[in-house]
Each structure stands twice: as C-alpha cells, then as structure tokens.
C-alpha cells in the first residue's frame, strides 16, 4: 500500500507541476515569427541539401546573384549590382556586385563568387556542375567585378547558372582544401557538417535544436536592408524566426488553428481548406506551381512501344476526374510538359486527348484507335450493337495476347494523389481491356526501377519546382539521356526531336528559341512518351493576426520576398 501511495503522490505532484507550468504562459515581450516545418531539414550543408526543408532554411542564408521577381516576369539583380554585361564575343560576361557583407561582418567580394563557381567545377558538384561545365574561366576582375568566359554561347547561363547560391570563401576554403586531399573529395565535401552557415541573406541561424526547432535571427548585415529591389522595400522587419518541426500536417493544422504557429511551410491537402476557412484569423493562399505530374511509358518494350496504344491510354485517362476528385479541384489539367502558367514558353495549341468526353465516349474512341492500329479483343469494349461492355483478351497487332502490365506509382504515404491516381488509371485502362495494375513502390525503389534498370511498363512521377527555363524538355526526351540514371526515362528516341533540342540549347534569340520549344512540345504531345496529367496548386495557410505582408508568387508564399517584407501586425 505504501508504495502505491507514494507513487500516487508523486504522480499528483508531477501533474500539478506540469499544469502550473502550462498555465504560467509565456508572457515575454518577444515576438518571433513561428513557422511549422513538415520535416526536419536534412542538412545545413548547401551542397548536400536537395530537400525542400533544408532549402527553405538555406534560402534565407545563401543568396544568388540574380533572382526572379515575385511576378516572375524578369530576373532582378540580387547580389549583383546590375544585369550581366555581355561582351562582343558573345561568350564573355561581366557581373558587377553590390556592396554586401557576410553575416559575420566581413566583406562580400568577387573572390567569393569566383571561389563558389570554381568549387562547383572542381568538385563537379552534382546538380550544379551541369550548369557550369560549359563555363571556361571565372575571374575576379576586382573586388566588385566578376568575369565569366563560356566555351560557347549557352541559353541557360543567365537563368540557370547565375542563380546558384554564393558561399563564402572564408567558410569553405579550408574544407575544400582538406577534402581535396582525401580519397573521396566529393563525399568528404558532402559529409562536411556545417554548424553555422555563413551567408549574406536576411537571416542567420542562431540554433538548431535537433528534432525540435531551428531558431533564426535577423541578419544585421543583410545587404538588402532598406533597399528597394524589384520594386519592393526590403526588411527584414521580423526580429526572429522559430521553425518548429511537425511530423504531420494534421498536427500542424491544429497548431495553426490554435495559434502556435503563424505559417506552415509546406503545401497542404485540399481536405484541410474547408475547415481552415472557418477561422477568421487564417488565410489560405492557393498559388501556381511550376510542376509536372505525368504518366510515363516505357518505349523500349511492348506494349507501350506503340504510339497508338499510348494515345489510347491518353484518351482513357480522365484528367478532369482526377483533378476534381483527387485534387479536390485544386489543380489544372496539363496537356504539355510545360505548365500553362509558363506563358512565354507554353504552347497552347496541343492535342487535348479525351477532352470533354464522358467515360463511354472515351471507350468508344479508344476502341476505334486501337482497332485501326490492328488490336483485337476476344471481347471488345464496344460490342457489335455499339454498346459498351467490359473488355477482355486484348491482342497486340502481331497477334500475341497482351501481358499483364504494371503502373508504378509512389506509395501513398509519399503522395496519396499519385497513388490513388494510379488505381484510377488502372481501372480506366482495364475498361478497354488493357490488363494494367497499379503498384505503389517506395520512392527510391521506383526510381531505381525506372531510371537505372529501365525495367517497367509505365509509371507516375512528378517534378516540382521546375525552372521557368524549359531546358528540361531537352533533358527529358533527348536520346542522349536515355541511359542508366539518365532523365530520358521513357527511352524516347526521335532524331528530329534531338536536332531541335540541340538547337534550342544554343539559340540565344528568345523568339527563335520559343519556336523551337513550341515544336518540341508538339512532338511530345503527338508521340506521348509522357502523358502529362495534372498541375496541382500549392495551397498554404497562414495566420493573419500576428504578421502580414506575405508575397505570393509561383510555388507559394514561402519565398525570400515574403521573409524580407513580413512585418508584425500593429
């Protein structure tokens, strides 16, 4: 009995203490911006960081030379003082820098820029090297001027190469030198642990309490403070940011409703919207994205080596159904590889497979397409009387029975939309007798299967944060990239396309390049190696009672413009 009593007493005491602590609310005068993160950032090593959460943090710290304005219409000089000056030879560019300082107060110089670019070239840093390998020389002309000499004219230099984040020579010189002496320099560089990243951005990292939160403070040395760039007066007007880590969106939404966070920096499911809208303090932002969600086919082997079957699949996939139900209307259909919002490059005159048809009409259309291409059924989807019926026994034009095929999708825990879309598409294909079954697979395994082994029939994948420059069209479909771990995952080979793609890479004249990109979109829409399905919208929710000034742009409100302009309400 005594033990029991003691235990009980101790428990009571503990509860009382906890409650007392809870009620003694945090009544300090601090007023930090509190942001929920879906996951902990992986790393603060900017070369290693490839996930959204790390990039979210690092984007506050490391800054590029140029960046897009919120309107996405043009690039504005950021760390650079003005637009790059091209010399007459067409391959030499000169960039003037703003007077800026690193967050420790030391000066930001041309040497830092040159160091960063050389580091990328020297270590062949994955993801960055492809944008720098065509740069021949990088020189710091003086403290505030950098000169780049290219091997040949390159369209993506301005938009893709000059937007990499610049790191400080001081921070990385020793690390790089030490790494070079190692057997595996790149791995050493990647695995270097960065405790306090040194940047030029509006905020500096104060503390990262692993598994719980990150604490950032205003960078007093931020070069943009008080400046007007892209028509906006920059702050930051927020003294501190607390990034809190919530494992699941549900809890983050509760936290938002409770007022424990001011913003959740991750797209949320449409399911939350209705409920959140009832809160007067919560505002929902629904933003355009530059993304692509598509069904990819394996063109290397039957049955999808036949364009007719791919077109038939394109007609069967009811994009509107997926958008209306799976995305709850928060998305738009895609017919090109490029999102329609990318107005300059987007070709609006492409085939819209199955548009406006209902289920039966689609099946009839597919029946027609496949019959013409020589396909036969033991039980056709449309009987002699013209009635739609469950189809069976689809035979290829060569007379062989179509083998069961699988559509690989990411697992539901990774992306429920794609997993469910896979199941829907499976049902739709079956209606025409195509023996498809959806098979969700862990993301790594799926990519291995599709990208490295090329062992699949079809898959559903997506790209987020595609650059505005459409150079990825070339990377996705040029036959040069049809190899192990290449991005031409379909195995699409078309000499005509290759030729246009190569030309588009080097054409510096915008209008001429636009025509080439238009043509490339047409070819892809005709041959359907990828069937673009939907472009989801980025839905974000913020509280309006503590901070205001969110800047909405492509990919949402979580951008550097917002953080430079947010200010406390009263």
């Amino acid at each position: 009995m005594t033990v029991g009593n003691r235990t009980r007493a101790a428990l009571l005491l503990l509860c009382a203490a906890v409650l007392a602590c809870a009620s003694a609310a945090w009544a300090k005068s601090r007023h930090p911006l509190r942001i929920g993160l879906g996951e902990e950032p992986r790393t603060l090593n900017v070369w290693m960081a490839s996930d959204a959460n790390s990039n979210n943090i690092l984007s506050q710290i490391y800054q590029p030379l140029y960046r897009h304005t919120p309107e996405e219409t043009e690039m504005v000089p950021w760390l650079a003082a003005g637009p790059p000056e091209m010399e007459a030879d067409g391959v030499t560019y000169q960039v003037r820098l703003r007077p800026a300082r690193w967050s420790d107060g030391s000066a930001f110089t041309a040497a830092d820029v040159a160091f960063t670019c050389r580091l990328i070239k020297e270590f062949k840093i994955p993801r960055h090297y492809s944008r720098w390998k065509f740069v021949d020389r990088i020189e710091a002309v003086d403290d505030r001027t950098v000169r780049f000499v290219l091997k040949e004219p390159m369209a993506i230099f301005l938009t893709r190469s000059l937007t990499i984040p610049i790191v400080s020579e001081k921070e990385w010189r020793e690390v790089a030198d030490a790494a070079k002496k190692q057997k595996k320099p790149l791995a050493t560089l990647f695995n270097h642990t960065v405790e306090r990243p040194l940047g030029t951005g509006p905020f500096v990292l104060e503390k990262w309490h692993k598994g719980a939160f990150l604490h950032m403070k205003k960078n007093d040395w931020f070069f943009g403070q008080g400046l007007r760039i892209g028509g906006r007066l920059l702050g930051p007007f927020v003294g501190e940011i607390l990034f809190k880590i919530y494992g699941t969106s549900d809890v983050a939404m509760l936290a938002l409703k409770k007022g424990a966070i001011d913003m959740y920096w991750q797209g949320i499911q449409p399911g939350y919207i209705e409920n959140l809208e009832q809160h007067p303090e919560i505002r929902i932002f629904s933003s355009e994205r530059s993304a692509l969600y598509y069904l990819g086919f394996n063109l290397r082997r039957p049955p999808f080596d036949d364009p007719a079957l791919r077109r038939a699949a394109a007609v069967l996939v009811d994009k509107s159904f997926i958008i209306e139900r799976v995305l709850q209307g928060y998305g738009s259909r895609m017919d090109s590889i490029l999102p329609a919002g990318n107005e300059f490059w987007y070709n609006p005159n492409l085939t819209e497979y199955g548009e406006g048809l209902n289920r039966e009409q689609r099946i009839r259309a597919v029946h027609r397409i496949l019959k013409e291409a020589g396909y036969r059924w033991t039980r056709p989807p449309v009987d002699d009387a013209g009635k739609v019926q469950p189809a069976a026994g689809l035979r290829l034009p060569d007379g062989s029975l179509m083998e069961p095929l699988t559509i690989l999708t990411p697992p539901a825990d990774y992306d429920p939309h794609r997993a469910i879309s896979g199941l829907l598409i499976q049902q739709w294909l079956r209606q025409a007798g195509i023996p498809a079954s959806a098979r969700p697979m862990s993301f790594g395994a799926l990519l291995q299967q599709v990208k490295a082994r090329h062992d699949f029939d079809a898959f559903i994948l997506g790209y987020g944060r595609l650059s505005l420059d459409p150079d990825y069209l070339r990377i996705f479909f040029h036959s040069e990239f049809d190899r192990e771990r290449g991005w031409n995952m379909s195995g699409y080979h078309n000499p005509e396309f290759d030729q246009i793609a190569e030309a588009s890479e080097k054409t510096m004249d915008l209008e001429a390049r636009r025509l080439l990109i238009y043509k490339m979109q047409e070819i892809i829409a005709r041959d359907v190696p990828y069937l673009p399905i939907y472009l989801p919208r980025e839905i974000e929710a913020v509280r309006t009672d503590r901070f205001a000034g969110w800047v909405q742009m492509l990919e949402g409100i979580g951008n550097i413009w917002s953080f430079c302009q947010l200010s406390p309400v009263n």
Binding site: R325, Q328, P411, A412, D413, L423, R439, A445
Partner: protein, 309 residues
C-alpha cells in the same frame, strides 16, 4: 456382464467428449469476457458477410472504385451514405464492411500460418531435441526479438509496396516463435508419455508420431494461441497500412485511416476517422477476449476452480 469394479471405473472415468465440450462451453459462456468477445465477433462476421451487399445495390457503393457521381468531396452521413463519403465520393460504410472482410482474412490467415509454422517448428524442436532443438530455438529467439512491425516496414520499403498476401506471410513468418516455444514445451512433456513410446514400439515413424500423436495433443493450445495471433496480425496490418505501407489495392481499416490521415481529413471528418479505428480496436478486442475466455476453459487449474464456485 460387468463387475462392480468396472462399473465404478466407468463412473470415475471423465465424462464423454461431448459432455466435456458442453461443460467447456457452459464455462465459456458463463464468463462475461467470453460472452462479450463472442458477441462482438459475431457482429463483425456479420459485417464481413454484409460487405458483399452494397456493390450489388449500386456500383457506386463499390468500396474501391465506386464513386457517387453527385459527390466529389468528403461529406458527412446522409440517406444515401449512412456513414458519409470519403474525399473522392466513395461510400464509407461499404469500405467499413469490406474492411471487416479484409481484417478477418488477414487476421485469420496470418494467425493460421504463424500457428502452423509455430506448431510445426515447436513439435519438431521438442521432439527431435539436441542439435535441431538448439538451432530452432536460437532462431526462434532471434526472430522473437525483432519488432515485427518495424521489420515488415523495412521489408516493404525495401522491396516495393507489398501485396496483402505478402504482408500476411511476413506477419506469420515473424510471429511464430512465441507459439513454437509453448508448443515445444508441451511436446517435451508429451514426448516421454507412454502413448508416444507405445507408438514408437509399434514402429511408427517420427513423422507419424509428430503428426498423428503429438499434433492432436497440442492442437487446443495452438488454437488458443491463434486467437492472440489474430489480434496481433490485425494490429500489425492496420499499423502498416496506416503508415502508408499497406497494400493500396485493398480496403482495409488501416488503409481507410491512412486515407483520412494523408488527405487532411483527420481532425475534420469524425464520421470518417472514428469508424475504422473503433472497428480495429473492437475486433482485436473480441479475439483477445475470446482467447482469454478459452484460456480459462482450457487451463484445467482454472477450470477446477471455476467448477468449485
């Protein structure tokens, strides 16, 4: 003619098997835990049976593919959808009914398989003894310390999404050691019982002794353990599906919870969140209660006590 002794003998002999069963049943039914468990289970069995009905009424009630053409987002209970619909307009009630079927299927088959492996290994281990016993029991120790859920999680993530039958098999493969230990202990006590030796003397092979003589004797114990394994199999499958590693082609309750969770309806659609969770909890409870009550019937010590009361 019967001698007096023989008559007395007959009276002293235990009651017939049927009487024994009837006695067991009475004892079982007397136990409120057994009664509740059985009633609950009957309800779920009814649900599982009823799961075939809704799609027959209207294809829109198909738990996986059917959608209400009028509804394209999650809605609460209505006349057409008694428990409401999920976010793409599928009927929650028919999903719940189909889930009962899956739960029974997963629970019973995984439990059956793990009991099968466990009993087989336990009997072999106990009967063979020596090296075989040591080897099998060390393997059992090893498998026993593996947290099943995490192991299946790792496997499912390594080898792509698993089919429901693969999950069932994996659960079975990792849940046998407990059973096999109990069966082994039981086999050890049986092994030197005269009727086993009698069988050996008549020339019965080892296989015959194991399956013909030991097996029926350990079967009640195995069946008892099966009820507990059903519970754990259902929970593991549900947890796996909840975390997003289940078979996406099945409408299990765990999968329903996953849909609620991942589509952002967790704290806003109680009509969708509560039923699957309650069902999982109650079904596992019913099997567990059944097992507890059976345990009391089978345990002769408890039984005697029960009779004396």
């Amino acid at each position: 003619m019967k001698t007096g002794n023989e008559q007395r003998d007959t009276l002293a002999a235990p009651a017939g098997r049927r009487d024994w069963l009837a006695g067991g049943w009475a004892l079982f039914w007397e136990n409120p835990i057994g009664k509740i468990g059985l009633i609950l289970m009957a309800c779920f069995a009814l649900m599982a049976a009823a799961s075939f009905v809704p799609p027959l009424l209207d294809p829109m009630y198909h738990p996986m593919h059917g959608v209400d053409p009028e509804i394209s987002h999650a809605t609460g209970p209505s006349a057409a959808h008694w428990l409401g619909t999920d976010f793409i307009g599928r009927d929650i009630l028919s999903q719940l009914l189909a889930g009962a079927r899956i739960a029974f299927m997963v629970g019973l088959s995984a439990a059956f398989m793990s009991i099968f492996f466990g009993t087989l290994i336990g009997m072999i281990s106990g009967y063979a003894g020596r090296f075989v016993d040591t080897l099998l029991m060390r393997i059992a120790d090893m498998v026993m310390v593996m947290p099943t859920l995490l192991v299946v999680l790792i496997l499912s993530s390594l080898f792509g999404q698993l089919r429901i039958w693969t999950i069932v098999l994996l659960i079975a493969l990792f849940r046998w050691p407990g059973v096999s230990r109990v069966i082994r202990a039981q086999t050890l006590t049986l092994k030197h019982r005269p009727f086993i030796e009698a069988a050996r003397v008549t020339g019965a092979s080892h296989l015959r002794i194991i399956f013909r003589h030991i097996f029926p004797n350990v079967l009640p114990l195995a069946l008892l353990y099966m009820t507990f394994r059903v519970t754990s199999a259902i929970i593991i499958e549900a947890a796996l599906a909840f975390l997003g590693f289940g078979d996406p082609g099945t409408v299990s309750w765990g999968m329903m919870l996953q849909w609620v969770w991942k589509t952002g309806h967790m704290f806003q659609a109680p009509y969708w969140l509560l039923p699957p969770g309650i069902c999982i909890s109650l079904l596992t409870l019913s099997f567990y209660m059944l097992g507890r009550a059976m345990e009391e019937v089978l345990d002769p010590r408890l039984r005697k006590e029960g009779e004396s009361e």
